[in-house]
């Protein structure tokens, strides 16, 4: 009987706890008028997908609170935000501010009307024109694009110098450098082909670089007007992909991300093809390593452009009860002075006008980007599951080395992916 009593007590306690837990979120509505500092109040929750900038965001929030003491900002950064966001959408309890990278599964929320239209907000004028333009959905801006990542070739400076290799400016020079390294007994490039996303990243960057893909190819294939097997650009991408892999590890298909990083950081391989996010990982794996980055070259030096992608954007939920506070936060973040503070800590290319980023490793890419030699990676234009189709086809390409079969698979994959949407 004692145990029964205990159970009943337990259940009663549970229910009372549950009742308490539910009432908290409704407090602090955005009742104040005007956007004058200090008058805005409320509590906002930020769902942050980039856990590695957690500390930086906390610093930013502390600074924000100096100007807006009445706004309580709660930073929520669970490891797997895509699941959390979905759960919150289903539970009808969207966080006030959501961050994401430019990719199809996150843009689905934009298309489904979860976020506020920010096009006419004054603070959007702080964003660079090109970023504003490339982040439009149906002609409108639904989020504040904040920083962008770029894709390039990481290289071990010491190995390059020891083998007397200059920084390649064309693909042919890159191949020549690889030949030289291979002759010296060094693995030229560390691939991590077990990780599908790394295959896809190189794939869509090459598609942008070689034939400036803007999604039309796949649309035409889906409509039966074109085919990858007959597409010059796509064939060339596949050939470059295979050529580069001749310089990778023999069993690269079994190599994971962390293993590739370890091989690169320990000097077992001379190069790695990755985005800006890799730098901090390499540096923590080997703080003494002499590492630098150059842009992934095109067929000619003139053709070389950097593939960029919005890496952190802020959206405000349509259903938020504290929209005013949320907008105040976005406005504050986009202030060039504050954005500069963020950039000094974080190091990626800022999408806010007038912000200078001085990460020496990224200087060569930044130069090209500010000269207008960049392209937005094409995956955002594709049907949602196309990235998956491409990644899998690329993995089979690396395994079979059969370009024709790869192009056929792309044709089939496009039909599957586009039939769904």
């Amino acid at each position: 009987m004692k145990r029964f009593l205990a159970l009943i007590l337990c259940v009663a306690l549970c229910l009372s706890l549950a009742a308490c837990g539910s009432g908290s979120s409704a407090s602090g509505g955005g009742s104040s008028t005007g956007t004058q500092e200090g008058t805005v109040s409320g509590e906002i929750e930020i769902l942050l997908h980039k856990v590695e900038i957690n500390e930086i965001m906390n610093t930013m929030i502390a600074e924000f609170n100096k100007e807006y003491p009445d706004v309580k900002v709660v930073l929520n950064a669970p490891g797997d935000t895509s699941t959390v966001l979905q759960a919150r959408a289903v539970a009808n309890d969207m966080p006030d501010i959501v961050t994401f990278t430019y990719n199809n599964s996150d843009l689905a929320y934009v298309r489904d009307g979860f976020y506020l239209d920010l096009t006419d907000q004054a603070f959007m004028q702080n964003v660079t024109d090109s970023a504003l333009e490339s982040n439009k959905i149906d002609g409108k801006n639904y989020y504040l694009p904040y920083i962008s990542n770029a894709y390039g070739v990481y290289y071990n400076v010491d190995i390059f110098e020891a083998n007397d290799i200059a920084i390649p400016t064309t693909l042919d020079e890159l191949y020549a450098a690889c030949e030289k390294l291979q002759a010296a007994g060094i693995t030229p490039i560390a691939f991590s082909d077990q990780e599908l996303w790394t295959l896809g990243h190189l794939g869509d960057r090459l598609m942008g670089l070689i034939f400036d893909d803007d999604g039309t190819l796949f649309e035409e294939i889906a409509a039966g007007e074109a085919s990858a097997t007959e597409h010059e650009g796509m064939r060339e991408v596949a050939e470059i992909y295979l050529k580069l892999h001749e310089y990778g590890q023999p069993d690269s298909l079994g190599v994971g991300y962390e293993q590739a990083i370890s091989a690169f950081a320990n000097g077992e391989a001379a190069m790695m093809l990755q985005g800006t996010w890799l730098l901090s990982l390499v540096k923590s794996a080997n703080p003494e390593m002499n590492v630098d980055v150059f842009p992934l070259p095109g067929r000619t030096a003139d053709e070389t452009r950097v593939g960029i992608n919005m890496d952190l954007g802020f959206a405000v939920s349509e259903s938020s009860e504290n929209q005013e506070a949320a907008l105040a936060f976005l406005s504050w973040m986009s202030d060039p002075e504050n954005a500069q503070m963020f950039a000094d800590m974080e190091g990626s290319t800022s999408l806010i006008k007038g912000v200078e980023v001085a990460t020496p490793e990224f200087a060569k890419m930044s130069e090209l980007i500010s000269a207008g030699k960049s392209f937005v990676i094409p995956r955002g234009y594709w049907a949602p599951s196309m990235v998956n189709e491409l990644q899998n086809a690329l993995q089979r390409l690396v395994s079979s080395k059969d370009v024709d079969q790869f192009l056929q698979e792309i044709d089939e994959g496009v039909k599957v992916a586009y039939a769904q949407s």
Partner: protein
Amino acid sequence: MKKKFLLREDTLTDFIITLPGLFLYTLLFMVPVVMGFFYSLTDWNGISKKFNIVGFANYAALMKDTRFAGTVRFTVYYTVLLIIGVVVISLTTALVLNSRIKGGNFFRAVFFFPAVLSLMTVGLIFKELYYRVLPLVGEWLNIPALQTNILANEDLAIYGILFANIWTACAIPTLLFYAGLKNVPADLYEAADIDGATAFQKFRRITLPFLIPTFSMVFILQLKLGLSVFDYVLSITGGGPGGATESIGTIIYNTAFTDRRFGYATAESVVLFLIIAVISLIQVRMTRGKEVTV
């Protein structure tokens, strides 16, 4: 006479004490399942507030989905090997631990250890072993297939996942078999000893019949684990190379969360549910009556 009367009096109590479980289970388990089944009849993307009811269109499309059929083949093969591996190893382990070996407590703790490791740790460790250690072993034994990373090999990658999975999955079945062995009446063995039975005869005639309920349990639990496997695949091969290790579980996961076709994904899981349920029920029927009844 007396016995019957007693049983009737207890009937009400017996009925009432099953109610809390039934209530909680129905509300928090079966209601979501029914809701899930409903979504399989829609084109819901998993986030949107709007969706259309499409009837059995998802199921019709699924029947023609060749990729789904391919993952079914992989998954069934994987499950068969998983069940055999887990049953053989955990039964042997339980028998060994149950025999009076020295340091039994220590060994029991060691054999239980794999169960406490998180999947992320297991994935990382085994990937590293396949990457660096196994090729050396292959070289040493002069087996060409093992000399490169098996996870890079379309035919061998499945065994890489399987090994890691069996490695962690044996701990609980070992406990179950162990608890089952404790339940075999000791006097039966004593009687058998007097009759001069061999160890194998004792195992075959006494131990095994008592373990049949445990067999059914382990079988069904592993069947469910095997057929719905997806976290081991995701953390060790990610479905590669070239989709060679894609299971029903991973494809459901991708359809639901990468492709954002939640309706279709639930239709896939309903089919998976049917496969598991049918096999399990057949198994339950087959072993019924074979176990020892007391």
